[in-house]
């Protein structure tokens, strides 16, 4: 009996060393986790979403370890979260009770509580700021008087449309046993809780492309959705342990939420009405929350009895291919040796060619 130590083993060891060398060889100063967390916060927020673990420190660590390869960082975080025990499911968060940092509506000029632009690249000019090439210590910033409203109630704007029944009701059928995408295998037809979880941790690029396809013409009716409301802020997380019988707050998280309004032509039984698409993400991921809301609406097509003819409406197409940990794994597995299979193909193609070249009748 012996432990297999052969060529592969040595090659793997050297490969890992080379990877480490790549990070260190120029001898620059090591980046601190805090610097990544604070100064690359959008990357950190993307990784906590798709890694589906709300831990910004570990996210920053994963980004450092993966040398900035975010899909790799997401994978690291996923592989870590899988070892964590699940203590409890939180109760549904209430996004009307939010410490608001940004909140806009594109459907109404003014809204109760006001439009709050907050931090956004939206109106920045995308000109490279060469002063950042050599930035001294970040120890001062212009403290703007932003009159941030604290702890106010911000009820959902689009619910105002409910008064006239113009908007579909979002029926509150909170399930005691929500689908858990980290524990349950995919099932079809998929339920909304299932697809919302998959979209929340789905690949941002994939979802962005899909949502773009829908509003460009490869979506139902090619209609143009309206942003009812976008929010970015901090909400409390509650759990309700059986032994206590009441809710306790266990912490707070940053979220981005998008409520999209879309059209519905109506049918024999239902008069025309606006419909909703909803997107929710951890952290500040506004673009992704918008993409999710468009995909969500498209996935509801079947429920409205709309014709399913575009990829974005197809549950299996969207949900099976949104996860970048799965996608990157399977695409890159093509790097693994396939010589046994390829030998089968070689063997066959020679046989087929010989038969044809020798004029053998099929």
């Amino acid at each position: 009996m012996y432990v297999a130590v052969k060529g592969g083993e040595k090659a793997i060891k050297s490969s890992l060393k080379l990877l480490e060398k790549k990070r260190k060889e120029t001898g620059t100063k090591s980046i601190e986790i805090n610097q990544i967390k604070e100064q690359l916060s959008f990357a950190v927020d993307r990784v906590i979403n798709e890694g589906s673990l709300y831990d910004k420190d570990l996210s920053a660590l994963a980004i450092k370890q993966s040398q900035g390869d975010l899909v790799e960082a997401i994978f690291l975080l996923r592989a870590y979260r899988t070892t964590l025990e699940r203590y409890a499911y939180s109760t549904a968060i209430d996004t009307s009770k939010i410490i608001i940092k940004r909140r806009i509506s594109a459907s109404f000029k003014d809204i109760p509580g006001g439009q709050i632009l907050g931090p956004t690249f939206d109106y920045s000019h995308r000109l490279l700021d060469f002063s950042l090439m050599k930035e001294d210590e970040i120890n001062s910033y212009e403290n703007i008087n932003n009159q941030e409203p604290k702890n106010k109630e911000f009820p959902s704007v689009i619910d105002y449309l409910n008064n006239e029944n113009l908007l579909e009701q979002e029926i509150n059928n909170l399930n005691d046993n929500p689908f858990d995408v980290t524990r349950d295998p995919m099932k079809f037809p998929a339920s909304r809780d299932q697809w919302m979880q998959i979209l929340a941790r789905g690949d941002e690029g994939f979802l962005l492309g899909l949502s773009y396809s829908a509003i460009r013409g490869f979506g139902s009716k090619g209609t143009h959705p309206f942003v009812g409301e976008i929010k970015y802020g901090i909400v409390d997380i509650f759990i309700s342990p059986d032994e206590l019988g009441f809710e306790i707050c266990i912490g707070e998280i940053e979220i981005s939420e998008c409520q999209m309004i879309d059209q519905f032509e109506g049918n024999k039984n239902t008069p025309p009405q606006f419909t909703r698409g909803y997107g929710l993400t951890f952290g500040y991921n506004e673009r992704k929350s918008m993409a999710i809301s468009i995909v969500d609406r498209a996935l509801k097509s079947e429920g409205y009895g709309e014709e399913i003819k575009f990829p974005i409406q197809d549950q299996e197409f969207v949900l099976y291919h949104a996860d970048n940990v799965e996608a990157q794994g399977f695409v890159t597995h093509l790097k693994l040796p396939h010589y046994v299979d390829f030998q089968g193909e070689l063997n066959l193609i020679r046989k087929l060619r010989n038969e044809i070249l020798q004029g053998k009748k099929l």
């Binding site: 012996y2 079809f188 940990v325 299979d341």
Partner: protein, 278 residues
């Protein structure tokens, strides 16, 4: 040795869940049993299903063998062995006969497996009908109704177009007269070994979250037609190392002019055969 992780990485509740699914899979040979697959620290498509099955059934006394393309020393096989060494600290072997647990990608060892062994296959796509019907909702129905016309027509079309079935690997089988099963991308050369195998055969698909099984001594038939019986690959050449004419051969290009040699894909078999012939 302290690894910092639970024995075999997964927590005990997860392992129990997977073992229950394995038992169900064994009770319904060839049926694809959904399971709550977990993320593993190795990439999807690189053996996470097999790794989860192995991690759930492995014990401290087990002796593990891992092969990829038949070889013990390919990088991914080495990487999986390193993973189990790190989280289990168990015995590892190259010898097929010594192993109690064999995890494989794309081959079944040439050495006949016995009743005290378990072979765990890594499965990229558990659904043999997937290329014919992309929808899971539909393929589950087709299996439930034992409605396999799609597959038979496909094989028939290949024969009418090429004179023979052109599937050379992942050649579909029927398990226990019931489910059409994907044997994983093993060459069709290995299909006959699955029939009536003494060892338990377990299949883990991580990305697709399915487990299926073929219990020992189960009939496994490669699909064919009376006038076009199933055939395995043959070579005019023999292994240039051990001289075997009975094993599956890999083709090696040995110089820039494209001169080729053939060697056994099963490295352990090749080594044993060479020793025997000395």
């Amino acid at each position: 040795m302290k690894t910092g992780f639970n024995f075999a990485y997964l927590d005990e509740a997860t392992k129990r869940m997977i073992r229950r699914k394995i038992l169900k899979a064994i009770c319904i040979p060839g049926y694809q049993c959904p399971f709550g697959g977990r993320e593993m620290p190795l990439a999807y498509g690189w053996g996470t299903g097999g790794i989860q099955v192995t991690a759930s059934i492995i014990g401290k006394q087990d002796i593990l063998k891992v092969i990829d393309q038949g070889a013990d020393d390919t990088t991914n096989a080495v990487s999986i062995k390193n993973f189990f060494k790190r989280v289990c600290n168990i015995m590892i072997t190259d010898r097929t006969a010594e192993a109690s647990l064999i995890q494989t990608r794309h081959r079944i060892p040439e050495t006949t497996l016995n009743k005290d062994q378990i072979i765990v296959y890594q499965v990229p796509q558990p659904e043999p009908l997937r290329k014919l019907e992309p929808k899971e909702k539909e393929t589950r129905k087709l299996h439930a109704y034992k409605e396999y016309a799609l597959m038979h027509v496909k094989l028939y079309e290949e024969i009418s177009q090429f004179g023979s079935v052109i599937k050379t690997w992942a050649y579909p089988v029927e398990t226990n007269n019931r489910y059409i099963t994907d044997p994983t991308p093993i060459p069709k050369f290995d299909n006959p070994k699955m029939n009536n195998m003494e060892a338990l055969q377990l299949f883990g698909a991580g990305r697709e979250k399915r487990i299926y099984a073929i219990p020992p001594y189960t009939k496994v038939k490669s699909l064919d037609f009376d006038d076009h019986p199933f055939e395995i690959q043959t070579w005019d050449e023999c292994c240039s190392i051990c001289g075997s004419t009975k094993s599956y051969l890999d083709e090696i290009i040995i110089n820039n002019e494209g001169k080729k040699n053939f060697i056994c894909s099963d490295t352990d078999f090749c080594k044993s055969n060479l020793e025997k012939n000395k």
